[in-house]
Amino acid sequence: MAVLRSTTIRRPLPQRRFVRPVIGWAGVLVVALGWQLLAVALNTSIFPTFITTMQAVGTVLSGPALSQDVLPSVERALAGFAISAVLGVVVGLALGYYRRLGDYCATLVDFLRSLPTPLFVPLAIVLLGLGSQMVVAIVVSAAVWPVLLNAFDAARRVEPLHLDTARALGLRGVALFRRVLFPATLPSIVAGLRIALSTSLAVLIIAEILGASSGLGYFIQDAQQTFEVPETYAGVVILAALGWLFDTLFLAAEHRWLRWDQATAGGNRV
């Protein structure tokens, strides 16, 4: 339907919306086909075919693993992402707006964010034990930085007249942050949030492999160690699908939130 309708409109907009995803899915199809052919040709138990893998995906998603592993992972990733978003925006904007405070904290921030995430896992296990809390804490320790740094940077570069106007209108404190600083920096914040979302998922898997007894990371590792090869591949495919789903939903939300920015940027994205 949508594709048919797009042919009647000559603006570049429908192309971007409909034709590009079609080409994108064609690429996925080609890889799936290549996977299938290669697996059939190799005929080995350590490399299941695409069809076998998709059947395993179906089994996993209709079995107990859905509620034991997949959904907890989704919850942890989203919880970690949400905490990172709030923490990153609040701290980032505050450090960016209050210049002196930002100068004091700059070295500390640089120091903390350059620590590799796996380093925190043993520490988090000691502090929080094994389980969801620990995993969420690890996710936050990695996903908070792209949000915080983007918010910080954008708050430092915010148009001075936006701030002068706000102050002339009597805005100060929380009202100034909420009504002017936050919307003015939202385009940068959203860019940081998108990175944080994919980081959340990646770090989630590391944390679950290293220190959890449930979740997608645990599931993949467990399947691998018990030689359930199609299930191992199925876990990876589910993870990839989740990543795609998160990003697609995120872009849809961004499109709604930032209509004004896309329009003022003069691009053809609206």
């Binding site: 148009e159 007249l161 936006h162 002068d164 106007t165 102050r167 002339a168 209108l169 009597g170 805005l171 009504r179 002017v180 919307p183 003015a184 939202l186 004004w260 920015d261 329009a263 003022t264």
Partner: protein, 263 residues
């Protein structure tokens, strides 16, 4: 008789450049603004007109001297004033509709009556029907009228304007000048306008203050005794208009201004 609303005594202001040098911008500024008075400040570009306005409006703190309002020293940004800046593209918030931009100035008023007031203010500016548009969908002149509506809706005692008509075309400019004159006559607030356009200052004002080159101070005051109400076509063709224009121009070009600058 009108009373003194704003009194500025011995005001001085320095700014620190990015390279760390301290630059004296305004020095020993003395002026007063009476209720309902229209006063313009003219001076060369780069002379610190904007800095002066920022200090007078409380956006910046004076280094020396005082700004007082009805006898009380001004601290911070006072509620009795509004500002219209030159660059409307940066003072109207692009993420808010026209209506929400204006309503921001009366955000403590409940939503329903506030909306009504905004609609009335927009109608007065000839912007009925544009409430739900975004500022960037409007022409430059219309955007500046939105900024004026936002400045006027909280009924300020003093309206500060920093080159408000410098970014629009000549025709829009003269229309906006008359819009401001109409608002001023109707609302009766005091206006302090900063401009580099001498004709504009003479046409609009009761009094024109001439600022020297940097570090700037007021070197001349010209009373504008042109009859009101004024109109572009008639007022600007009066012989007296040209006399006053020449007087102000002579003040701007006075060697004293460069002498002050050399000190």
């Amino acid at each position: 008789m009108s009373e003194v609303l704003l009194d500025v005594a011995g005001l001085g202001k320095s700014l620190t450049s990015t390279s760390g040098d301290t630059l004296l911008i305004n020095t020993d500024i003395n002026l007063s603004l009476r209720t309902g008075e229209f006063v313009s400040i003219v001076g060369p570009s780069g002379g610190g007109k904007t800095t002066l306005l920022r200090t007078l409006s409380g956006l910046a703190r004076p280094d020396t001297g005082t700004v007082s309002h009805r006898g009380a020293t001004v601290e911070g940004v006072p509620p009795w004033m509004s500002i219209v800046f030159q660059d409307y593209t940066k003072t109207l918030y692009p993420w808010l509709t026209v209506e929400k931009n204006v309503r921001l100035a009366i955000r403590d008023v409940p939503k329903a009556p506030a909306r009504q007031r905004v609609e009335a203010a927009l109608a007065q500016m000839g912007l009925s029907g544009f409430a739900d548009r975004y500022p960037w969908e409007l022409s430059g002149g219309m955007q500046q009228r939105v900024a004026l509506a936002r400045a006027m809706i909280c009924e300020p005692e003093v309206l500060f304007m920093d080159e408000p008509f410098a970014s629009v075309d000549a025709l829009t400019r003269s229309k906006l000048e008359d819009t401001v004159l109409g608002l001023w006559q109707q609302a009766g607030m005091a206006v302090l306008l900063v401009t580099h356009d001498i004709g504009e200052a003479v046409y609009l004002s009761d009094r024109v203050l001439v600022l020297s080159a940097r570090p700037s101070t007021i070197i001349d005051t010209v009373e504008i005794d042109l009859p009101r109400p004024r109109a572009q076509a008639t007022t600007r063709t009066l012989p007296r208009f040209h006399e006053l224009h020449s007087t102000v121009l002579a003040g701007v070009e006075d060697p004293q201004s460069s002498e002050v600058a050399a000190r």
